[in-house]
């Protein structure tokens, strides 16, 4: 990132407006998709859309796209540690019951 007189990136107005429009459309899709029975895919679709929306906000509204590597690293780091929290906690819960009775027939 350059220093000196306002070395920051100034995004054009159109970027903000189109990101906003995209976010609105995605919100509409989220609600619409929720009313369609997609089975196991309902939560996946909802979270995928939320992920895309969050990414748009992070990249453009929060200017991460134009920020230093350190800022990008910070974002990745936060997701990495949340992933550890999720993965290892769910590892315990997902393996519950693995040592149950073996069914009689087997």
């Amino acid at each position: 990132m350059s220093s000196g007189h306002s070395g920051v990136h100034v995004s054009p107005l159109s970027t903000y407006l189109s990101i906003f429009a995209a976010l609105m459309v995605l919100s509409a899709i989220t609600v619409g998709a929720a009313f369609v029975n997609l089975g196991a895919f309902n939560p996946i679709v909802a979270l995928a859309i939320a992920g895309v929306k969050a990414t748009l906000v992070i990249l453009f509204f929060m200017h991460v796209k134009y920020s230093s590597r350190l800022t990008k690293l910070t974002v990745v780091l936060s997701l990495f540690f949340v992933a550890i929290l999720f993965a290892e906690t769910l590892m315990d819960y997902a393996t519950r019951g693995w040592l149950n009775y073996t069914p009689m027939g087997q």
């Binding site: 306002s6 100034v10 929720a34 009313f35 909802a46 969050a54 920020s67 949340v82 769910l90």
Partner: protein, 252 residues
């Protein structure tokens, strides 16, 4: 914390420094860009903390949703979708006005900066107003966890009977009573903490708007606006996840 930071940044330098320095440069930084980068990094590290803070809630939500999926679906259905949707639009809109305010500050447009900040404050307040309305409904319906919790209370009183187990629902009444309470506990903790973040954000916005009005910022020094923006966008992102997780568990 942002609050304290905003003060720190806004305070005029108390040490007699070279006149070439920007008036907002604090004595322990050597350049404005060092000061700005320190501030921005600080804000990002703070957001890192916030992500983990909400992460603890999301893992709790995930686990109980796996265990008590039907209760989550039922309870989620009992929440009105329209206020939630309006709030989503309002909050994303406020993120846009916030971004535009930062942009105005970057391009040295004082008046526009202030106006966009005020727009953000208004939208944020609208969000909170709707949230208050939603909470009031929950109280009325006895959907607040605790001694008075009764998932069926409202539906039976008003004869809507939305509790009549839909097909595929295998849980009985007691079971629903117990496990929907977990959903609402999480609902209130999650939206409550989110709202708390909004309130803090609005207070900061007021301070920043005042400072902008006083002409404290220019194209070289506007880090407080920028950092408030980062915070506000983060709060927006949390809502982007909360909305489908709480309102849209199973609508079909």
């Amino acid at each position: 914390m942002s609050n304290g930071y905003a003060h720190a940044e806004g305070a005029p330098s108390m040490h007699g420094h070279d006149h070439a320095h920007h008036p907002a440069l604090q004595h322990h930084f050597s350049t404005m860009s060092q000061q700005r980068e320190a501030g921005v990094l600080g804000m990002w590290v703070f957001l890192l903390t916030e992500v983990l803070f909400f992460g603890g809630l999301f893992i709790t939500y995930t686990l109980y949703r796996m265990w008590y999926y039907e209760a989550f679906a039922l309870a989620s259905k009992s929440i009105e979708i329209v206020p939630g949707l309006i709030n989503t639009v309002v909050l994303i809109g406020s993120s846009l006005t916030m971004a535009l305010s930062v942009r105005s500050a970057q391009t040295n447009q004082r008046k526009a900066t202030v106006n966009w900040l005020i727009a953000t404050i208004i939208l944020g307040s609208v969000f909170l107003g709707i949230k208050v309305y939603e909470y009031a409904l929950k109280f009325e319906h006895h959907h607040v966890p605790g001694a008075t919790f009764d998932f069926f209370g409202h539906a039976e009183a008003s004869g809507e009977g939305h509790e009549a187990p839909a097909e595929g629902v295998t849980m009985g009444r007691d079971q629903i009573q117990r496990t929907t309470q977990i959903f609402f506990s999480l609902y209130f903790v999650m939206t409550g903490l989110h709202a708390l973040h909004m309130i803090v954000g609005i207070v900061i916005l007021f301070i920043i708007a005042w400072m902008a009005h006083k002409g404290r910022f220019d194209s070289e020094y506007h880090a407080p606006v920028e950092m408030t923006g980062l915070y506000w966008h983060f709060v927006d992102i949390v809502w982007i996840f909360l909305f489908p997780l709480l309102y849209l568990v199973e609508r079909h």
